[in-house]
């Protein structure tokens, strides 16, 4: 399955958003996940099935002025 993650093309096997985030080994509390231009709350990550061509952004808040 091919998706676009953070602006780059990627082939993955994860089936849900949660799988993807776990697989990326990220600190879940720090992650802001956008699935096809819509933010998904942490509780709902496991409900979101990933399909071919999806656009996913995994973001976090950082220092800025």
């Amino acid at each position: 399955m091919k998706i676009r993650l953070n602006g780059k093309n990627l082939s993955i096997t994860c089936s849900t958003l949660l799988d993807l985030i776990v697989h990326q080994n990220l600190d879940q509390k720090a992650v802001v996940a956008e699935y096809n231009y819509k933010v998904v709350k942490q509780d709902d990550w496991e409900k979101v099935k990933i399909n071919n061509g999806d656009n996913i952004e995994l973001l976090s808040f950082v220092g800025g002025g």
Binding site: D27, K38, F61, V62, G63, G64, G65
Partner: protein
């Protein structure tokens, strides 16, 4: 003698008693942020949103910000109104509240804002119940349009971001202060407490200081200094200090001199 307890700054519906806004950028260590906030009492602080890079995955600036401090996510990285709007919506949905500092920049040398894209983003987000604080070139006509569009304040730059050059845009900022209904917050360029005091004496409603605090060798002391300077400038504004004069005015009496005659 004490500053009026009711001297509250309203941004949207929220009131603030401390008129120093701070930022989370450029600190040598994020652990310094809560110490800095404690030192200066700032009640609002900016944060930025970025794609996670595996190489640097540990960052979550939010956990260094105490609960009583209001978050002000910025849209840094946006080059168009559209990108700014997208970032703003994500920040809000991610639970950062409804404040948003709009920052749309295409000029990578001076980081000067794009006023017209900033206006477009303000028009969209104000309608979505954001409390919109647009970072802008000081420009009265555009500021009036931002006010019309529902901005909660305007944030004119004093000088380019991070330049520490102070109130280079003073004449235009004064014009904004004298003609806007919504608050004027001087953002960017403030390098020293005297700059902050001067902005407040001119009648600015608040100042936002990030670089000058974060990059000093003692950010907590610097933050405290800025906080005191902001209060000092505000008090001077409220006390309507005397105007300057062309000639001297003696501070000692001009009669009764002890002289050899």
């Amino acid at each position: 003698m004490e500053q009026d307890k009711n001297d509250t700054l309203y941004l949207g519906k929220q009131g603030f008693s401390n008129r120093l806004l701070t930022g989370t950028g450029k600190f040598a260590s994020r652990e310094l942020i809560p110490v800095m906030l404690d030192a200066c009492g700032s009640e609002m602080i900016t944060v930025a949103l970025r794609r996670i890079d595996k190489m640097d995955q540990t960052e979550n600036i939010l956990k260094f910000i105490p609960d009583n401090v209001t978050l002000l996510p910025n849209t840094s990285g946006a080059r168009t109104a559209k990108e700014a709007v997208r970032i703003a919506r994500i920040a809000k949905q991610a639970g950062c509240g409804s404040f948003i500092k709009i920052e749309v920049i295409t000029d990578i040398k001076y980081l000067l804002p794009d006023n017209s894209e900033t206006l477009k983003a303000t028009e969209i987000l104000a309608k979505e119940d954001f409390t919109v604080l647009p970072y802008m070139m000081p420009d009265l006509t555009l500021a009036k349009k931002l006010e019309q569009a529902g901005a909660a304040a305007v944030m004119p730059l004093g000088a380019p971001i991070g330049s520490n050059r102070g109130l280079e845009m003073k004449p235009m900022i004064e014009i904004l202060i004298q003609n806007m209904e919504i608050p004027v917050i001087v953002d960017a360029g403030i390098g020293k407490p005297s700059d902050a005091a001067l902005a407040m004496e001119m009648g600015a409603d608040a100042v936002l200081v990030n670089t000058a605090i974060a990059t000093s060798w003692d950010p907590a002391m610097a933050a405290k200094a800025f906080s005191m300077a902001v209060k000092a400038g505000r008090m001077a504004y409220l006390a309507e200090m005397a105007q300057d004069t062309k000639y001297a005015k003696a501070s000692s009496p001009l009669t009764g001199f002890l002289r050899e005659d």
